[in-house]
């Protein structure tokens, strides 16, 4: 398509500014050499790949928001192929997030146990010796605080229980400005769509990993101040609610 001519103009312009054009020819051969030596994984000279690093080492490292936005955008575009409707698209996004939630859970537990006490005290829930949450409230606090901090660098904005007596199994986690939706504006004919269904899938994976059967869905609840406010509706299954009653009677926290 329009690839080659655009590239040509870019090159001719960068020739004008001396710095870039000087750097490029040097960088390219070295990359080629590396790829010739070891096709596939690039191994640094000291033979340490990212798998040799300690898992906690990347705890506080940051990722580029832009590259995440582009990656997530591609995921949405991919999920949009051959879908029949909004619900189908949200289901696909949910399914993409689910395995991540399952895997993330282990990393979350690992990091909350193996770190110093200061990290433990900051996360209010995971300080108790039995690490896996047994009660619903403990689990929801784990999601609201540590999980959200691991994913987005801050806690979620609200955690509520359904006020309706008909649905005691429904809980709501609110994020005023979900990071996945920062750059996404859904077209008008898909105004019900919320791409945070991906995050809902992650929550579902975390809950399932903890042994809580759940269905999680993301809903738009815009306010004047927060136009992309999203509510994650967490619906626990009947078996979970029964177990919850038993645990309550037994006094387990």
């Amino acid at each position: 398509m329009a690839g080659p001519p655009r590239h040509a103009t870019m090159q001719s312009i960068s020739n004008g500014s001396t710095l870039q054009s000087g750097d490029r020819p040097q960088a390219q051969p070295s990359q080629q050499q590396l790829s010739q030596q070891s096709p596939g994984l690039r191994v640094p000279s000291n033979r340490k790949t990212i798998y040799d690093r300690h898992l906690n080492r990347s705890r506080n490292t940051e990722l580029s928001r832009a590259s995440f936005a582009f990656l997530f955008g591609e995921m949405v575009t991919y999920a949009q192929r051959r879908v029949t409707g909004i619900q189908d698209l949200e289901k696909r996004l949910n399914e993409q997030g689910y395995p991540l939630g399952l895997r993330l859970l282990d990393l979350l537990f690992y990091r909350s146990t193996s770190t110093s006490s200061s990290a433990l005290s900051s996360s209010s829930t995971s300080s108790s010796p039995p690490n896996r949450p047994l009660r619903i409230i403990t689990l929801l606090h784990l999601i609201h605080g540590p999980l959200w901090r691991l994913l987005f660098g801050r806690a979620a904005d609200a955690l509520e229980h359904s006020v309706s007596p008909d649905t005691p199994n429904e809980y709501m986690i609110t994020d005023n400005d979900p990071m996945v939706n920062t750059y996404i504006s859904a077209p008008r004919d898909m105004s019900m769509l919320n791409c945070a269904a991906y995050v809902a899938g992650i929550i579902e994976g975390v809950c399932d990993g903890c042994g809580f059967e759940t269905k999680v869905s993301a809903h738009n609840q815009p306010t004047e101040l927060w136009p992309s406010r999203t509510v994650f509706l967490v619906r626990f299954g009947d078996s979970v609610m029964e177990r919850e009653k038993v645990l309550e009677r037994a006094g387990i926290k």
Partner: protein, 171 residues
């Protein structure tokens, strides 16, 4: 400073084929053109921009470049076989400003060929800063939106919102 921002009238974005992909007024009560007129305006400006690019004067290269391959050193008075732009390091740009007594039209073309046309008051300062910010918002909220199709009209609610909020915040 407050007077600066009252001067931003409207914004037009033209894709690299000369099609209108975005048009917005920033002040209420401006006289509106019909949609068709805006499309014609975008196409015409695209053409004029291309013409101004191609009529950029070129200067004949008076001294022949020392070519190592040829062994004859005394080629006097060469025919001006090649031409160069006055300042070869700077890429040729088309129309950048168009100014009348009543308004100033600033055109900013990105490396990818998209043009941002900003209509401002002639007294408005820092137009370049405004356009850079608009470009930044465009790169963020239009190009990162998975529902936006490249080269198609921009209908991104987040872009509208942030653009409006930023321009209002400047006042």
């Amino acid at each position: 400073m407050p007077d600066n921002n009252r001067g931003v009238f409207s914004l037009i974005i033209i894709n690299k084929a000369g099609g209108l992909i975005y048009q917005r007024e920033f002040q209420s009560g401006l006289r509106q053109l019909s949609t068709n007129d805006y499309l014609v305006l975008a196409g015409t400006f695209h053409g004029v921009h291309a013409i101004t690019r191609s009529i950029t004067p070129k200067i004949p290269i008076s001294q022949p470049a020392p070519s190592p391959a040829t062994s004859s050193p005394s080629t006097t008075a060469p025919a001006p076989s090649s031409y160069s732009y006055p300042n070869p390091g700077v890429p040729v740009s088309g129309l950048d400003y168009l100014e009348t007594d009543k308004f100033r039209l600033t055109c900013f073309q990105t490396l990818t060929g998209t043009k941002f046309l900003l209509f401002t008051d002639p007294l408005t300062g820092n137009v370049d800063t405004i356009i850079q910010k608009i470009y930044e918002l465009y790169a963020d909220f239009v190009m990162k939106n998975p529902f936006y199709q490249i080269e198609m009209p921009v209908r991104c609610e987040a872009f509208d919102r942030h653009l409006g909020a930023w321009l209002r915040g400047r006042t």
